[in-house]
């Protein structure tokens, strides 16, 4: 009797553990795991993602765990990538989302399509892909159920990076995290970029006001013909090949600005709107 009770306890604990596991095929009835779970680290991610692996590594990829589930003729691949931090996970999501589709309210942000879904929560980036017998079928409901189940079992932040809210909303098309070389300039190491109907804005947060000032100084030296602009703590504007009209300013330890506008004056005017939104 005691042994039976112990067995029941063990089975219950195992079931509970399975139910709490984010990589779980049982969020929707009728789905079963079809093959062993897969695990990848930076060293071997290209075995699974081929050349696309580099796109994960640049966002601070740590490891990926995945499972394939099956229901009838449909298969569902779930992959959960752990990134260095929540911002990187969000950056991975933003880089891979379809900018023409809305962001769904799941985790820090997600996207649902008829046969695929993705979202970021905490330091995790989650991808779900259905392969259906009918390639035109809509599996949004299944994906939503799985996404909600996984999201509920992952720890971490559910709000998008704060800096994204600083970009003015008018004529905004999309935002993303650029993991290195913002505007194609190595000095701007990592930051947020917003694409507008005309031009783009960026925000880079340095370690300190001093380091931000040093980077701004080097940037100004980089652009021939740069002239001062009255934005933030210090700023310059210039017209340059490939980036057109630019204005870059510093506010505390934040470097930000606009590029690809017809003239530097316009970039400075836009930058004045941006600086007012930066705390």
């Amino acid at each position: 009797m005691k042994a039976a009770g112990l067995l029941l306890t063990v089975l219950f604990a195992a079931g509970l553990a399975r139910a709490q596991e984010p990589l779980n095929c049982h969020f929707v009835p009728g789905w079963e795991q079809s093959e062993p779970k897969r695990q990848y680290v930076a060293d071997n991610l290209s075995d699974y993602k081929d050349g696309g692996a580099e796109g994960y590594l640049v966002y601070g990829f740590v490891r990926m765990t995945g499972v394939t589930c099956k229901s009838g003729e449909d298969t569902l691949a779930i992959d959960i990538s752990e990134m260095n931090d929540a911002d990187s996970a969000y950056g991975m999501f933003a880089a891979n989302r379809d900018p023409s589709l809305p962001i769904a309210a799941i985790g820090m942000g997600g996207q649902m399509q008829p046969q695929s879904a993705s979202f970021a929560k905490g330091k995790y980036y989650v991808e779900l892909v259905v392969t259906a017998a009918n390639p035109n079928s809509d599996r949004t409901a299944v994906l939503q159920a799985f996404a909600a189940g996984i999201e509920g079992r992952l720890e971490g932040r559910v709000t998008a990076p704060e800096a994204l809210a600083w970009f003015p909303k008018e004529n905004l098309i999309s935002t993303r995290l650029v993991p290195e070389s913002v505007l194609g300039l190595r000095l701007l190491k990592r930051g947020y970029v917003a694409k507008y109907k005309q031009g783009q804005a960026f925000i880079v947060i340095e370690a300190s006001p001093e380091s931000a000032a040093e980077v701004l100084k080097k940037l100004r030296e980089h652009f021939d013909g740069a002239s001062p602009a009255a934005v933030g703590d210090e700023a310059f504007q210039v017209k340059a090949p490939y980036l057109d009209g630019i204005c870059i300013f510093r506010k505390g330890r934040t470097l930000a600005g606009y590029a690809n506008l017809p003239d530097p004056g316009q970039a400075a005017a836009q930058a004045a709107q941006l600086v007012a939104r930066i705390p």
Partner: protein, 390 residues
Amino acid sequence: MIPNTSRREFLSAGLMLPVAGASSRMGLWPVSSEPSAADTGAPVKLDYKILGRTGLKVTTLGFGCMITSDPSVIERAADIGINYFDTARGYQHGNNERMVGAALGPKRKHVVLSTKSGAQDKDGLLKDLDTSLHELNTDYVDIWYLHGKGSPAEIRDDMIEAQQLAKKQGKIRFAGVSTHGGQQQLLPWLAQKGVFDVVLAAYNFSMDPGIEQAIAVAAKAGMGVVGMKVMAGGFRSIKPGDPLYKKLQQDGALLAALKWVINKPNVATTIPSMTDMDQLDENLKAMAHPFSTSDEKLLAARLELIRPLYCRMCGQCDGACQKGLPVADVLRFLTYADGYGQFALGRERFLELTSEQAAVRCGDCAECTVNCPHGVHVSDRMARAQELFA
């Protein structure tokens, strides 16, 4: 492969050279001892080869667009004269193709543009191709690769049919295959198959010499060979923060690695990833200067750095493991994973060990009884294999 006939061609500086010089002034990329053309304000020197039977004349430095964030870098590369650009349907779920198409704009017709699809059947491939053409804003791609194939079994007849149909429809000019692993078996098979015009292969100075032979077979059969992962340095497990990392990034070694591939007669072009203007300027130097003895020394030094980590598979291990571990074998499995990116193969072999061998943990031994005549730190490497595979 037809040897380069226009190595002396130059592109006049035009508008972009002041920018080239300016971005070089930032000097954050590892500095080589040789001044770049951009540094000196001299014209950028372009080097060309013919891409096998395609007859396409490509710059030996191409552009891997996968992790490029800002289109300005691609635009400037095209203005300078780089004429081979590579993307894939799967990169950032299509966002990369869209960015590349927008960046090239009207310049697209002056460059060789390649993309890839990883779809697993004919319909999926052709659907991907139509999407790629739309996103790249072009009527055709010059080379369309089957993405990431590691063995002949992964290339089915209906995939080849898709490529042939796309050719007939004028949506692609040439058919290719990209491969990261299994190249020693795959490349000769592709060459023998005769339906692929181009292969995009992982290739760098630290790889098994057998890959060079496989590439030679493909080139001899008329296939154009494009090199990727050319600066991987053959060692992926060293990450920023590791004391070795800085040494591996030392001055000029990356450029030397790029030059090493560019100067291989059977490789027509290369597609290093480039995210900023400095990187572009640095890589341009690879076309201006041949692989030199100083480059050779740099790469030799780099190999020395990785020597404690890499088994050469010479079979000359000194001593034997007291716990019966087949040390040379396990080191070889680890080299599959760390050196050649063949984790699955390495793990598969490791799991073939007996349960007693697989249970050994080298960290439990006070001293290792096996020594490597080439300086591999045997116990450290064995411990890594146990951590990675067990």
